[in-house]
């Protein structure tokens, strides 16, 4: 009764959670182009897209994706073999455990006549599946440990708790099984039920047989057991028990555990371990069921859907252009849920070294995905968390759109589309790209707000480490103002609009540096429009690292102002 109530409650929570999570796919708006689309339009677009894919040749792509990407995890295989193995073990082990063990009355018992969990092959298989999941979890944890990069990995405590819960359910399951194997109490209960417990003539041989062959830990049986007795017991066993009980040694995990627990089995029996282990096991499973939709393990639903949706794309490069703006909006929300937080994107990210250097994990894709979601859900920016928003903005605009995260994502998420949308949202939330707000003012005006007093000629120690070239006169003192950098600069060449074109040419930037007026350059359009093509640096007859200096100056400006403060100054 208690179990039933708990089961239905958990199921109800799970279903409610799923419905809520599904609804998010149609409600949450990520990106400026998603703003004017209603949930109904999105639902209709998804329905239209799904039906058109269903009745076209694209269905074969979807089928192929289902087998290769969803079931066999092809994309993960290409990225990380060990993790692929771990994940596949969990996927297969857990699914089969669920079907064969948890849903036994609904599935296994219906399919196989005479199903008993204590008979082979079910006895063996249950341990096998459980062991697969345990080994899989261990492999993933090892992988996570080996990948630690010094930067925090993107994960939430609820997800870690869910992993602990899963491990707890598995461990209690094994313990429960082990205890039942070794438990004399369970033996007596069964013996009483099937052969009559009072009949000592039958009971003794059976005890002898179960103690020697089935590992029951009778505390009053010690020393060598009489072989004749065991043989008698075997006959009785064959008649009364063998229909339901295979040798527990085939439970290759629980049986050794039972042997280890043998000395304390009596104590455990007295403490009714069978009952509370069962409660712990069942409630852990039910709690997992109820909380699944609220953790990132919702990806077991979202990731396959995301993979199938992308496989149905009209363009085979799965680009965002394959989808209508309505479908694109839902696809982005789906991507937030489909992310498995594996962190492969973080490892491949082109700006990861910058993230490490700045100590801002907000640059990394897996983190950025979370902040993009928080921004879309209105959780950012909020008062008291301005710093978090600022770091998110820094991260978003330092991304170079190199596309490595998208190409390596084992779930095939179109992350570039997500980043672009996220930047749009950041701009709308009052956090546009530094280059945008910096150009709202001329360089001279910036120089005044960049420094409290007269322009500093020397950089502070921290800034000098950050911008070693700009701090060292030797870098640019050789400049002879020959104008070669300006002559070869494509930005100057294309700057035909005095209103928005470059204000200082590269050689003037160098000249200001020579004059010690570095702060005058920090907000200049030349510095911020520099395409980093390195023509200036390649051609400089004096070998001055012009392009590298431009990069430093940009970094220096942002470092001094901070994105939020800088933007507020002009808005």
């Amino acid at each position: 009764m208690l179990f039933q109530t708990a089961l239905y409650a958990s199921l109800a929570l799970c279903v409610l959670g799923l419905v809520w999570r599904f609804s998010v796919w149609f409600r949450v708006r990520i990106g400026p182009d998603a703003r004017d689309v209603t949930p109904a339009q999105r639902l209709a677009a998804v329905f239209r897209g799904a039906t058109s894919a269903l009745f076209s040749r694209r269905m074969f792509h979807v089928l192929a994706a289902f087998f290769l990407d969803v079931l066999l995890l092809r994309r993960l295989f290409a990225q990380a073999r060990l993790r692929w193995l771990g994940h596949l073990l969990i996927l297969v082990g857990f699914t089969l455990l669920l079907l064969m063990h948890a849903l036994a009355p609904l599935v296994t018992a219906k399919l196989f006549q005479g199903y008993q969990s204590t008979l082979d092959p079910y006895l063996f298989l249950r341990d096998l599946f459980g062991a697969m999941v345990l080994i899989g979890v261990a492999l993933l944890l090892i992988g996570r440990w080996r990948r630690r990069s010094g930067l925090p990995q993107a994960r939430r405590s609820i997800d870690a708790a869910f992993v602990a819960l899963l491990a707890f359910a598995l461990v209690t399951g094994f313990l429960l099984e082990a205890h039942k194997i070794a438990s004399p109490r369970a033996f007596y209960r069964m013996a009483d039920q099937f052969i009559g417990a009072t009949d000592a003539e039958k009971l003794e041989p059976l005890r002898a047989f179960w103690a020697s062959e089935f590992g029951v830990a009778f505390d009053d049986l010690s020393g060598p057991i009489d072989a004749n007795m065991v043989e008698q017991g075997r006959q009785l066993h064959r008649d009364a028990c063998a229909f339901c009980h295979a040798k527990p040694a085939s439970a290759f995990v629980s049986y050794p555990v039972a042997r280890v627990l043998a000395p304390v089995t009596g104590l455990l029996d007295d403490a009714r371990a069978d009952a509370w282990l069962l409660y712990l096991h069942v409630f852990a499973c039910l709690l997992g069921l109820a909380s699944l939709p609220f953790t990132m393990f919702f990806h077991v639903v979202a990731a396959p859907i995301s993979l199938l949706v992308n496989s149905a794309a009209v363009n085979r490069d799965f680009s965002a252009q394959s989808f209508s703006s309505e479908a694109r909006a839902s696809r982005r929300a789906l991507a937030l849920d489909a992310c498995v937080r594996c962190g492969i994107c973080d490892l491949r990210c082109s700006v990861a070294p910058i993230a490490r250097y700045l100590g801002n994990p907000g640059l990394l894709p897996a983190h950025k995905l979370i902040t993009t979601g928080a921004l879309a859900c209105g959780l950012l920016p909020r008062s008291g968390h301005e710093d978090e928003a600022l770091r998110a903005a820094d991260g978003a605009f330092l991304c170079t759109d190199c596309g490595r995260c998208t190409s390596r994502c084992p779930v095939g998420l179109d992350l570039e589309d997500l980043w672009e949308a996220g930047r749009g949202d950041l701009a709308a939330a009052g956090l546009p790209a530094p280059a945008q707000w910096l150009q709202a003012r001329p360089a001279l005006a910036w120089a005044e707000s960049l420094e409290p007093g007269p322009w500093q000629h020397a950089l502070s120690d921290a800034e000098a480490t950050f911008a070693p070239l700009a701090a060292d006169r030797g870098t640019f003192s050789r400049c002879v103002q020959c104008q070669t950098c300006t002559n070869v600069c494509p930005v100057v060449a294309h700057s035909i609009d005095p209103e928005h074109g470059v204000d200082l040419t590269p050689q003037r930037v160098m000249n200001l540096l020579r004059l010690g007026l570095r702060d005058l350059t920090l907000g200049s359009r030349m510095v911020w429009d520099c395409a980093t093509c390195y023509q200036c640096q390649e051609n400089c007859p004096e070998g001055i690292r012009v392009a590298d200096i431009m990069c430093e100056l940009r970094g220096l400006a942002v470092r001094r102002l901070g994105a939020v403060r800088g933007w507020r100054e002009v808005s």
């Binding site: 070869v488 060449a493 035909i496 074109g501 040419t505 070998g543």
Partner: protein, 434 residues
Amino acid sequence: MTDARQDSYDVAVIGAGMAGMSAALFAAERGLSCIQVGSGGGLLFASGLLDLLGVHPVAEHRLWQSPYAALAALAREQPDHPLARVDAGSIRSAFETFVTALAAAGLPYAPLGERNRNVLTSIGTVKTTFGVPRSMSAGVDALDARPSCLLVDFRGLREFSAHQIAATLGRSWPGLRYQRIEFPGCEVVPELYAAHLARALEAGETRERTIARVKPLLGDARAVGFPAVLGLARAGEVHAAFEAGLGVPVFEIPTMPTSVPGLRLLGALEAAVSARGVRRRHQATVRALAFDGNQGTATLELDGVPGGERVRARAVVLATGRFSGRGLKADRGEVRESILGLPVQQPTSRETWHQRNFLDPSGHAINRAGLLIDDAWRPLDADGKPAWPRVFAVGSILAHQDWMRSKCGSGLAIATAWAAVDQVARQLRVTAAG
């Protein structure tokens, strides 16, 4: 010879200015495998005009119409001048080889001949030179004959004023007119840069619009002069299109350095040496140069190459230039050669580096400082012996010359490179035979 992994060469040329480029070009033409180390950025200061020898003696500022007559006089009166060590036949061959290579790389020159020519400068003065790019040669004729002539400049191009040239020359050239026009597409741009205009003119449409703006201004002009912005990599094509479009000879006047002709020269020389299989390390500098025994090889350790690089060469040509090329370094006490620390022929004390008058016609002693060499172009050590059997020095780093005042910069670079590479080839042959 063209194996990218090759790290051992017949000859390593250190320097990529006029002398280094010439040495690499001549060595490659002789079939020697060659690596060149150093930036060609110094060439950006070139005007595209190739001087041979314009002035001798410096103190008298005597201009020569025949460079070869001037060279003969130089050989008689200043036998230790590096150019006096090269015979006229070699100089002719060197220049012919040099301009032929440039023409093949898309930078044609007017036929060299035997005489110096006079060329207009961007401030209206007249410069005596020897080799003239084809795009400037109509200006030589115009300056000689002084027909009715139009000079055009562009508003916003600060480094070139047709008005100034006409104002300077107007009295002796009554038919010289000037006009300022807007560069198409840049009507609202406050400031223009020559290289950008040069690239823009390589687009047919911009070219046609420019020609269309100049054509109504032609009047009776028999020649039209422009700042040197008529194309960059495809300068020949742009120049031809202007002549065809305007129907009169068109000539360029070099602008202030660094200029478009300098960019063209650098590009053409880079293309010429690369096409001949010369390996280039144009961002590298030589950190150390060591020699393995008397007849062995030289090892160059390079900086500025990711991870560093070691190169071995059987001969080394030092073409590192003077102070701005950083071949020579001066401190409070003395001038030093920067790679090998070779002794530099120089005034005994810093007080005697310069004359009291900066514009003293006889020049300054420091400008004639440099490396001493033997007859085989090998720099000498403190004992007056060759520093190493197969190190050679060429170009402006050599002592006993004042190339700026003599108007012999290109000649010094090209002629000494030719003669030294000849010695390199000889020495390597001797070693190979031995």
